[in-house]
Symmetry: C2
Subunit: 502 residues, 2 copies
Amino acid sequence: MFPKIVRLNCFNDFKMLKRSLRNRPDFTKNRYKIPRGNYNYLHDDHIKYFRNLLGDERLIMDLSDLERYNVDWYKQVRGCSTVVLKPKTTDEISKILSFCNKENLAICTQGGNTGVVGGCVPVFDEIVISTELLNEIISFDENSGILTSQSGCILQNLDNFLAEKNFMVPLDLGAKGTCQIGGNVSTNAGGMRLLRYGNMHGNVLGLEAVLANGEIIDCLSTLKKDNTGYHLKHLFIGSEGTLGVITKVSIQCPTRPKFRNVALLGLQNYDKVLKTYRLVKHSLAEILSAIEVMDAGFMEFVKDKNNKKLPIDDYPFYLMLETTGSNESHDQEKLNKLFEEVIQKGLVLNGTVASDAKKVEEIWSIRDTISDGIKECKAVLLYDISLPLVHYYRIIEDIREYLGNKCLTVFGYGHIGDGNLHITIQLDNYDNQLKEDVENYVLERTLAYEGSVSAEHGLGFMKAHYLDKIKAKNTLNLMKNIKEMMDPKGILNPYKVIQKQH
Amino acid sequence: MFPKIVRLNCFNDFKMLKRSLRNRPDFTKNRYKIPRGNYNYLHDDHIKYFRNLLGDERLIMDLSDLERYNVDWYKQVRGCSTVVLKPKTTDEISKILSFCNKENLAICTQGGNTGVVGGCVPVFDEIVISTELLNEIISFDENSGILTSQSGCILQNLDNFLAEKNFMVPLDLGAKGTCQIGGNVSTNAGGMRLLRYGNMHGNVLGLEAVLANGEIIDCLSTLKKDNTGYHLKHLFIGSEGTLGVITKVSIQCPTRPKFRNVALLGLQNYDKVLKTYRLVKHSLAEILSAIEVMDAGFMEFVKDKNNKKLPIDDYPFYLMLETTGSNESHDQEKLNKLFEEVIQKGLVLNGTVASDAKKVEEIWSIRDTISDGIKECKAVLLYDISLPLVHYYRIIEDIREYLGNKCLTVFGYGHIGDGNLHITIQLDNYDNQLKEDVENYVLERTLAYEGSVSAEHGLGFMKAHYLDKIKAKNTLNLMKNIKEMMDPKGILNPYKVIQKQH
């Protein structure tokens, strides 16, 4: 069985982690200077309605209790909501939304509050609907591996439930112990093993959501094949709570693999990384479950900040690859054959492999503890992008050239199997103008290389301003028309993803 | 390498194949007696516009040439379109749609014309837009396995192209040699290996589509992770050409497996089928690529009609399972271990396995030739449904009980791994009232068992009347609102999926 690993592999762009993690951020409304939408302000009659519906204990109004719902987990943004509602059922959410829509009250749906683009905390005084009490597992079909639950179930809890039945959740995130399945679906979460198990659009078989006007949309199919009409569920996957509140989800879960191996390889340059990746894909094929790349800057950083000792010498590049399968010796034989080939072809300089849980964990921890090191930095800029693999590492070289000695280090690492790259830029001191320049430069380079400026994290509040720059007019208009049709008053998670003009 | 197999595994409900395949069907407008929408009729100025745009050779108006675009491949429905347009580019499609929208002319987009619910042929005189000349492969990234092409590329051609590079298309359909990728995407095609490679919503990374008003929607991402705004492409996946015309597609393609084994097992009852299926899923895990179930009625039928000899004796149930992997001896070892276990546990009575191409093909042909036999029947009713596995075979028993001696045989077979069941009912003579009664009974039973009345085939024209019966009011309204927003005049594939009131 797998060792438990808490992994923190997702960061937000443009933030100073040290500052943001230790101090409470300024109110977003002050920091970002955007106008409040013309929503109603909460008054006593509203509170009375909510109290009647939920009772005192599911209505949070105490200022100190409110804090954790108003601030995101990286402490980058801070809303000033004065009420958090904790419904337990779809019907309660339907009543809340119907009421808010009629009363023109803005709402912000919050799952585990582990998003990193400020998507799930209020910007102004939006009413927070916390899904934390929508935490029931509704059904699991051991024949098909299809799990149905309320949206507030914590991912790790679902996985623990499935582990007993030899199944697993089809996604693996650093925030597993806190994030909720509804949040995963609404942000179209990615993660480490997407290359093996596929994305949310493929794995979510059905969902139930409540529209802005309180109408319940029941697409809670638990079937792998169902071609009856428009596939509406996808409107809610990845739209970050701006089109509806997801209340129930059904997902297909793969069988839990019995064995795991992890290897760390040292390589000379990115060209060899790419060639090795291609070879790995074809020779490990069905047993490959993760493949991560890291450059020398990453390793230097991890060794320096986290006192990590590497099981192999220093190299310009590293690949960490994981296999999971149903037969230990088969998997090891495939790995050994691969190693022979890559060494013989001169693609890989050195490598080590682990199959026992402790060593597996030790190797993974090199990749996992990066966030701890970053937290210790004085000033750092972080990006999460995806790129075609041929350009994957060029952007790091571009940024190095662009910044010259204006920064301490630029390094890159990420899920190469998905073209997903995390960029870390370490600065001497935080500099607002430099941050803006780098942001523009990274955007320009990412678009030039036909990449995406948000691979896994969504747009939320902090990246919403990208939208006009990255989408064609017609595409943007279609998005706006959908938002207008489904939420004409714009009460659902305003100021996020697509910004309504007030 | 795999033997080439032409497989015909999808049928439509409620049809008499013998009659329909041999004779030209009546005009749909006469047979179904639905009113024509208030669209404009084609006149000379329209033709002049199309001729200017496309030239004579890409404008079909000759009656005998028109026939194959007006009749579906199972010869169930027949439109009376008088013009077929053959654009080559997105820009031409944009101009055609913009013009048709302005002139209130209805259109019907047609790919390979292999749909089986009458979705891709005109109902009345809709202008046919054939995508057959949109047949260019735009790019293939050998690093990521991402293929981008125009929508009119034939699936088999794409697979041949990929085979040379050791990749494969992620779906496998009987109509592979004729169907087009754009049609596959717009009907959300399923097929035999969905359980291994996932569905279209997971595999389509991007697409370009033209809206009713001629606007081009560019969602042609070639990235595995891209979380920037609403995931619009899913609106076009499975909406059967009623929301836009798909012009380009990018899909992720898995590496081509090197080895294949196929086994045929005999079992005593459905309970043991289900238990074996569960065991197979866990023990073959990463190498399982297809699992099909067939009952004794199916085998009797195939032996009788197709003169098939079985490699094993007669049993009440059969499982056919396929593995594909990167190491032949590993796969065979896993299979042998499985066989030992299922025999020892008394789950399976007998079995045979094949790994050389000829024998693999022989075993598959038992499953594949079913359609040839059906064509020989005097009268037959066919259904394609999906069900939770616990009820999967109960519906066959229900139908047998319901029909008693009113039919010759009822048998079932299908992709058990996806809960997808094909039902065949052989009648003495075709009987319209009986057909209607059975249709209602199957619908009622399918809904009672929480299944879907269209697993793989979509609603098209012939199943569109189900929609009101199977969707909740709110869900249906949302579908209608989307259609109204994206195609306010209802010119795109009218009378299909969602029927606009005229």
